[in-house]
C-alpha cells in the first residue's frame, strides 16, 4: 500500500467517525442513547440495517465463495424478504406499542422475568462471540497480506469502533452507518468496474458471463431436496426465512436499528428497503467474485491465495514437492488459457458441437488445476499442521492488492474496515443496551437516576468492546469466516425465534412451559450440531419448531393450569 492508499483509508475512516461524534456531541439523554434520535428517517434506518448485516466478511468471503463454488450462496437469502414482511407486520407494531428498548423486554411483559433473561442471555452469548469474529475477520486477512501486526490491527480497529459507539450510542451508530454504507457501495462499484476494465480488450462482459456459465459458476438456483447440501432453493427459502426472521425480529443488534427512528412507518420502510435490495446486492457481490474468477482465467492466479503462508512453506522440507507442483500448475494453467480461448471462439461461431467440445476441455483443465491445488493444500498442511488450508477469504483481497491502482486499494481496504466497523458498532451498541436494560437495571440497580444508567450504558458498551477484542485476539481462523458467523447464529437463533413465535401466536402458553421448551430445544440443537452433518440453515427451522411444539405440549400436560378449588 502506498501513502495515497493510507491517506484514503484513514481519511475515510476518521471522517466518518468524527461525523458520528459531531452529530451526537450534545446528546446526554438516556432515551436517545439507547433508542436513537427520533429525527432519523427511513432511508438512514434502511442503510443502517443493511450496514449491520453486511460485515467485513461479506466483502472478503463472499467473492471468494463465488470464485470457488459459484453463485449458490445467493439462495441463503431467498427467505429473507418474507421474513422481513413478517417482522414488519407482526413484530414491529408490538415493539412500538410497548415502547421497548430491547426485544427481550417484550418477553418479560408477555411471559416472565426468567424467559426474558433466557432470551437476553442467548443473545449475549452468540452475539458476544460473533462480535469477536467481526473484529477478527478483517484483521487476520489484512495483517497476513499487508504484513501488519495482527494484535495491533485488532486492538486499533476495535478501539476505533468502541470510542464512537460508547460515546454516541444508537444515534452515532445509525448516522455513521449511513456513510459507511455509501463508501461500501461506491467501493464495490469501483471494484466491479475495474475488474471489467482489466479483462482482455477483445473479451466482452457478455463473453465473460458466458464462460462463467459454462464453467458452472452461475448456478444460483438449485431445486434439489438434498438435506446434506448447504445451499438449495428449499433450504434458502425455509431455513433462510427462519434465520432472517430470528435475526431481524429478535436480534437486538438489528431491532435497535429499526426502532431508532421512533416511527412505525420509518421502521417498516427501512426494513422493506432491505427486503427489495438485499438479493440484488448479494448477487452483485457474488458476481464480482465470479468476474475475479474470469479475470484469473487470463492472468495466472497464485497456486495458493494465502501467499505468505505458501512462501513460509517453501522454506521447509516440503519445498521440493511444492516446486514440482508449481511447475505442473504453470503448465496446466497455460493449457487452460488455450482451452478458454477456444471456448470463446466456439461461442462466437455458435456451433453447438464446438462449444460442447471446448467446454469439456475447459472443465477438464479446471478439474486438473483443482486437483493440483488440493495437493498443494495437503503439502502445506504437512509443512504446517496448524495452517488453515481454505484460502477463499484471500481471493478478492489478493486481486485488490495485486491488480488495482493505488488510491482504489485504499478505498477498498476502507470498504472492508467500514463494513467491519458498522457491524461491530451495532453489536456493541446492542450488547451494552441489553446488559443494562435486561440485567443491570431490573436485577442489580432498579431505582438509579437516568444519568447513572447513561454512564453504565457507556461503560458496558466499552466493556463489551473489550470482550470482543479479547476474543478476537485469541480466535483461530475457521473454515470460512462468513459461514462461521452464520453457523454460530443458526445454532442459537432457532430457539430464540421459537420463544418469540410462541409469545406472538400461542397465547395459551405461559412462561415456564416456553422456558423449559427452549432449554430442551437448545440442548437438542447442540447435540444435532455435534453428531450430524445436515446443512446449518436447518438448525433454525428445527430449533424454532421444537420450541413451538414442546412448549404447547408442556403447557397442556406438565404445566397445565389447575382450576382454583
Amino acid at each position: 500500500m502506498s501513502e495515497l492508499d493510507y491517506a484514503v483509508l484513514f481519511g475515510t475512516l476518521l471522517a466518518i467517525a468524527i461525523y458520528g461524534w459531531w452529530k451526537t456531541r450534545a446528546d446526554h439523554d438516556l432515551n436517545h442513547y439507547l433508542r436513537g434520535d427520533s429525527s432519523i428517517r427511513w432511508g438512514t434506518i434502511g442503510l443502517s440495517v443493511m450496514a449491520t448485516q453486511a460485515s467485513a466478511v461479506t466483502f472478503l468471503s463472499t467473492p471468494g465463495q463465488a470464485y470457488e463454488s459459484g453463485m449458490g450462496f445467493l439462495q441463503n437469502y431467498f427467505g429473507l424478504p418474507f421474513a422481513l414482511i413478517v417482522v414488519c407486520a407482526v413484530f414491529i407494531p408490538i415493539y412500538h406499542r410497548l415502547k421497548v428498548v430491547t426485544a427481550y423486554e417484550y418477553l418479560g411483559q408477555r411471559f416472565d422475568q426468567k424467559t426474558r433473561l433466557l432470551g437476553a442471555f442467548l443473545f449475549l452469548l452468540q452475539r458476544g462471540l460473533a462480535a469477536g469474529i467481526t473484529i477478527y475477520a478483517p484483521a487476520i486477512i489484512l495483517s497476513v497480506l499487508l504484513g501488519w501486526n495482527l494484535r495491533l490491527t485488532i486492538i486499533l480497529s476495535g478501539l476505533f469502533v468502541v470510542i464512537y459507539t460508547a460515546t454516541g450510542g444508537t444515534s452515532a451508530v445509525s448516522h455513521t452507518q449511513k456513510w459507511q454504507m455509501a463508501v461500501i457501495l461506491a467501493g464495490m462499484g469501483v471494484a466491479f468496474g475495474m475488474i471489467l476494465h482489466r479483462l482482455p480488450p477483445d473479451f466482452s462482459f457478455l463473453q465473460a458471463v458466458s464462460v462463467a456459465g459454462k464453467m458452472g459458476k452461475l448456478h444460483a438456483v438449485d431445486f434439489s431436496f438434498d438435506l446434506q447440501r448447504r445451499y438449495t432453493f428449499w433450504s434458502g427459502l425455509l431455513g433462510g426465512f427462519f434465520l432472517a426472521l430470528s435475526y431481524f425480529g429478535t436480534d437486538q443488534s438489528q431491532v435497535q436499528r429499526y426502532l431508532a427512528g421512533g416511527s412505525l412507518a420509518g421502521s417498516r420502510f427501512g426494513l422493506l428497503f432491505n427486503a427489495v435490495l438485499k438479493l440484488p446486492m448479494q448477487f452483485f457481490i457474488l458476481l464480482t467474485g465470479v468476474m475475479v474468477f474470469i479475470f484469473f482465467q487470463f492472468e495466472k492466479p497464485p497456486i495458493f491465495f494465502n501467499q505468505p503462508a505458501y512462501q513460509r512453506a517453501t522454506q521447509t522440507a516440503q519445498a521440493g514437492k511444492l516446486a514440482l507442483l508449481q511447475t505442473r500448475y504453470d503448465q496446466l494453467f497455460a493449457q487452460k488459457q488455450i482451452a478458454v480461448r477456444s471456448l470463446t471462439s466456439a461461442m462466437d461461431s455458435h456451433s453447438a458441437r464446438a462449444i460442447e467440445t471446448a467446454t469439456s476441455a475447459v472443465l477438464r483443465a479446471q478439474k486438473e488445476i483443482e486437483t493440483i491445488r488440493g495437493e498443494v493444500k495437503q503439502t502445506l498442511k504437512a509443512a504446517d499442521p496448524k495452517l488453515e488450508t481454505s484460502d477463499a477469504d484471500y481471493v478478492f483481497i489478493t486481486f485488490v492488492l495485486d491488480y488495482l491502482p493505488h488510491g482504489v486499494i485504499g478505498l477498498l481496504i476502507a470498504v472492508i474496515f467500514c463494513a467491519g466497523m458498522s457491524s461491530s458498532a451495532s453489536e456493541l451498541n446492542a450488547l451494552g443496551s441489553t446488559t443494562v436494560v435486561d440485567f443491570y437495571r431490573p436485577l442489580l440497580h432498579p431505582h438509579a437516576s437516568e444519568a447513572h444508567y447513561l454512564l453504565v450504558s457507556k461503560l458496558l458498551t466499552a466493556a463489551w468492546g473489550g470482550v470482543a477484542i479479547s476474543f478476537a485476539l485469541f480466535a483461530n481462523l475457521v473454515e470460512n469466516l462468513i459461514q462461521a458467523i452464520n453457523i454460530l447464529g443458526s445454532i442459537f437463533y432457532g430457539s430464540i425465534l421459537g420463544i418469540f413465535l410462541v409469545a406472538f401466536f400461542l397465547r395459551f402458553v405461559r412462561g415456564t412451559a416456553v422456558f423449559v421448551a427452549a432449554l430442551i430445544s437448545q440442548a437438542l440443537v447442540l447435540i444435532l450440531f455435534y453428531s450430524t452433518t445436515i446443512g446449518y440453515l436447518w438448525y433454525n427451522v428445527l430449533g424454532c419448531v421444537m420450541v413451538l411444539i414442546l412448549s404447547a405440549l408442556l403447557e397442556t400436560t406438565l404445566f397445565r393450569a389447575r382450576p382454583l378449588a
Binding site: R97, G213, L218, L264
Partner: protein, 46 residues
C-alpha cells in the same frame, strides 16, 4: 375504532403503495422477479 398512534399509522395511506398490504405484495412480486432472473441467468448461460 382504537385511535392509538399505531392504528393511526396503519389507517393513514402510505406513500407510493397506498397501504402496507400493497407494499408487502410489491415486495413479494419483486422477490419472484429477482429469483426468476437468477434462474434465467443460471439456465441461459449454462
Amino acid at each position: 375504532m382504537n385511535e392509538s398512534p399505531d392504528n393511526r399509522e396503519r389507517l393513514t395511506s402510505i406513500p407510493l403503495f397506498g397501504s402496507w398490504r400493497r407494499a408487502y405484495l410489491a415486495v413479494v412480486i419483486v422477490l419472484v422477479l429477482e429469483v426468476a432472473f437468477f434462474y434465467f441467468v443460471s439456465r441461459y448461460f449454462s
